[in-house]
Symmetry: C2
Subunit: 156 residues, 2 copies
């Protein structure tokens, strides 16, 4: 008896936060469907569920910051997840700005800023936003979280 869901739950993911800005307001959401897709030029792909606020905002702006959270930041991820109906961010979050003015999570492990160059996922429930990395850095040392590490799961 075939059970692809069980296999999909064995896929390994990191714990990421996407941010962008709409009308001067910082917006963000926790995401997992993330992969690099190119080293030269540097590019990444992020899957955002169609119909969510963050999906619509990234589609509208064509740019976002993708942050990597570390293994001890499950509660940070949960606070963003809980406040996240309209992709609003918790008030207490330490936010800076990238050089181009996008919201930067100061407590993240590292981040890349992305300009969307391509979309994919006509038939899928998440849309893939593929984009070139135009900036980014490691903020501090630490172990990147995997969803398994922090006892979370997505997909399946």
């Amino acid at each position: 008896m075939s059970n692809p869901s069980k296999a999909l739950r064995d896929f390994t993911y990191g714990l990421y936060v996407v941010t962008t800005e709409i009308n001067g307001e910082p917006k963000g959401a926790v995401v997992s469907f993330v992969t690099q897709v190119s080293s030269s030029p540097k590019a990444v792909a992020v899957g955002l569920r169609k119909g969510t606020a963050i999906h619509d905002f990234v589609r509208q702006t064509g740019k976002f910051v993708l942050h990597v959270l570390s293994v001890e930041q499950k509660s940070l991820a949960e606070s963003i997840y809980k406040s996240g109906q309209g992709a609003d961010l918790p008030q207490e979050l330490a936010l800076g700005k990238t050089e181009s003015g996008l919201p930067l999570l100061r407590d993240a492990l590292s981040w890349v800023e992305v300009r969307v160059t391509e979309e994919a996922g006509e038939k899928t429930d998440h849309r893939l936003f593929i984009g070139e990395v135009v900036d980014g850095d490691k903020i501090r040392d630490g172990k990147p979280a995997s969803l398994f590490d922090v006892g979370l799961s997505y997909g399946g």
Copy 2:
């Protein structure tokens, strides 16, 4: 000083093997750029470096099996990597077949079989093959490998 490569090296990946069949021959390669992109319908995206044999074979056939390796299978991955110039598979590999006849790694943790429905990555050095999951299962219990766990890295 911006350093996006350092940030990209913090991304978390699993350890996967893609297989397909060309002229009755099983072919395969170790891959890392993998994510689910849809739960309904179930779909995944896999990034394969343009110009590699596995890229060309998957593009030609439009179908593949994506296997998840467990944390103790670094040496299995390395044996596939080493024999992999033309995406040939090591002779000693325990191979079965999926119902549709594609090569199945019997020692993997789990697997999904995929029919490519869309490609992306016009400007990237890997092409993203996005496809619907048509079959799959968990073969055995075990901990899925992350590249960090097994001391490997890709991307950056």
